[in-house]
Symmetry: C3
Subunit: 287 residues, 3 copies
């Protein structure tokens, strides 16, 4: 995988076509999400639980936060997708995560791993993330610090926030594709490494206010899971990022402070349409 | 209890009077809620905790989320009502639920059971719901799938969401009145089965956006508990549903997407008045 | 410490000057908060987790909710400040609180204790609060009932809400200064007892709607911790209260019901400026 420099015009044409194909798939995925309203099993953190559920409902999916080890297997068995987030784990949630991940892996149900806070300071969750990676999540997503560190690099983080920029590190995430179909790094621009498309996709949009609202990354992980129930992993990951980027951009046009921005963001997540996706999606194919 | 068909005109008159009596009781209950600001002990899920507390505060009550087994008895002893919600149970919360339910049952304090996700897929909580039902909750509330299944029927659910309509199944809930004073089934219309009124009450209103906001049912359960501290079980249940239905209807007139709707909904929960109740309550007595 | 009666005019002048010094320190602290964006380790309750994180982000800090005992030591070691809130403790969180408090005490990192619900009814958390007080929190904050009871007085509370007024009891908190640098009692007016300033500071502002939004006190505790990472304990405590009081006052000018008030409040927390602090801060030095 090469850095996107010195691109010839024929390559540019190729990319233009590919972007159109992707855009069509995103519209299709969004439509399917509204039709199927897939049941998404979420094991998430105490900060994100309410917010992620509201984002999924607003987007068209049907979330259920089942995070105890006694029901994780039976529920994961019937869910259309699973989202595991390591934000504020408890011992019981950790057990539930392992059980649910094993269950969906055995059944072939798509699942997303969000290794919040991955790194040497937060060892307990990081050990669990390492174990979960070996169960082959369909998609791994996180911020630049988390994903780069998970991929084996030494990167600083600041608590659960990244200290490096997504466009600096996305190529470092390449080794993770040995374990999953798709890796997503969110940041000012989002980068998605896709194994089956053999490409890196860059998504632009959103607003600088998004990191000022807690749990947006966690909710994005849950939304990727929702989309993965209705389309292939790479298109699911791209679709969720495009959905977020457009909603963030349109919300910011209405509100420039965090409280009202977040209200508008949920509105725009819900008010998405095929037309808005076509009009506002900013997708670039790099490679 | 018979299906509400072939009603004679004299029965209609009876019902008209009865509705007026109920409306008066709802206004009275709302007024008492503002005056007494009852302390409501809530053991609820991680998705609903913040939202249910905000709904109770907005409505006039004083919520306290005490969900550990070490303080459940002493706190349940002083609370004016208890709300138990099985959304995302932990082992410690399960212990707290049993202790709190036993405490309030012994003291005669009213309490509400919300068996979120009841059904064969979520066995751990369903077993606990079965045990709690035997402690005779004052009121049992849930969506159509949950209540119908709890009453012994085989109904499909989709995670924690209902797949059947409230008006199809409310009569199936009848056997539950052997264990409680009142059963409430929320949905497009809400149905309340009352033992002491010997009637089924239908509440209309709200908005189609309400199920698109997570934890509204959970917050409704907590609000029923709040009202049960200031009036009889059936009027408490009706009052909470009317309060929600009017707030939902008025909020929807202001906002047609989920984020801003939810903000307006909390505003309208807080801005309720005797006049609004009289003007907007849509209560029908069936039987 | 004497009650502020019979004050001579020379003392009034003294106080006027002191208020100006404090105001300057508050502006400085707010500016530093924006610059340093300190990492704040929060162990908080399920009701407050999302809200407190959003308030800290809006205010300029970088929150991380790390509430398990297995990562509490390593994370507390790198955090710029720690906030411990006893709202809805679990056994694992209780362990995390002790470990984190011991860690920051040993390192000299500032930390805030918020003994939510302290009193004879909620013995488990109150015993923990007593233990944590002996570890010398930098700042202790709570409502009038909690702080007065923690200081050894017999005061009634209503669940987690106060039944006494802050201006009635703030002098009762004096003995707590044997264990900490600063004590803050929030209420209609806020009172801050400072050991190093040898004074009681009164902060006015806010809105009567603030207690109608859940977890505002918890978020205030977390914000005090954030400020304590960038300035001395007393100025940190004052700064956080001033930040809240101004945001509450300005939010109320925009919205008079709880849902929209809370959205505006988050906006105003984020839109704070040195100018607004100078224009709106209502600080009185009592002693």
């Amino acid at each position: 995988m090469n850095h996107p420099e010195n691109i010839s015009s024929s390559q540019l044409d190729q990319r233009h076509i590919q972007t159109d194909v992707i855009l069509e798939k995103v519209v299709e995925a969004w439509t399917e999400l509204q039709t199927q309203q897939p049941l998404v099993h979420c094991i998430t953190n105490s900060v994100a639980a309410n917010y992620a559920a509201n984002v999924l409902l607003a987007a068209g999916a049907s979330p259920a936060m089942i995070d105890n080890p006694f029901e994780a297997e039976s529920f994961a068995s019937i869910a259309a997708a699973l989202s595991i987030n390591l934000g504020t784990p408890t011992t019981e949630q950790m057990q539930a995560m392992q059980i649910a991940a094993q269950t969906v892996t055995a059944k072939g149900t798509p699942w997303v791993l969000d290794p919040v806070g991955y790194g040497p300071i937060l060892k307990w969750r990081s050990d669990m993330a390492d174990q979960l990676v070996l169960l082959n999540p369909t998609i791994i997503r996180g911020n630049a610090s988390e994903i780069s560190t998970l991929a084996g690099n030494q990167v600083e983080s600041k608590g659960v926030d990244s200290t490096v920029s997504s466009n600096q590190v996305y190529l470092q995430a390449l080794p993770l594709l040995a374990h999953c179909e798709c890796v997503a790094i969110s940041g000012e621009s989002d980068f998605i490494l896709s194994k089956d498309l053999n490409a890196v996709i860059q998504i632009n949009g959103g607003s600088y206010l998004q990191p000022k609202v807690t749990a947006t990354g966690c909710a994005l992980g849950a939304l990727i899971a929702a989309y993965s129930a209705v389309t292939k992993p790479s298109f699911a990951t791209i679709s969720a990022h495009v959905h977020f980027a457009i909603a963030g951009k349109l919300a910011f046009e209405q509100s420039q402070s965090v409280g009202s921005f977040n209200v508008a963001f949920l509105d725009e997540i819900h008010n998405m349409s095929a037309d808005k996706i076509v009009q506002y999606a900013d997708i670039q194919v790099l490679k």
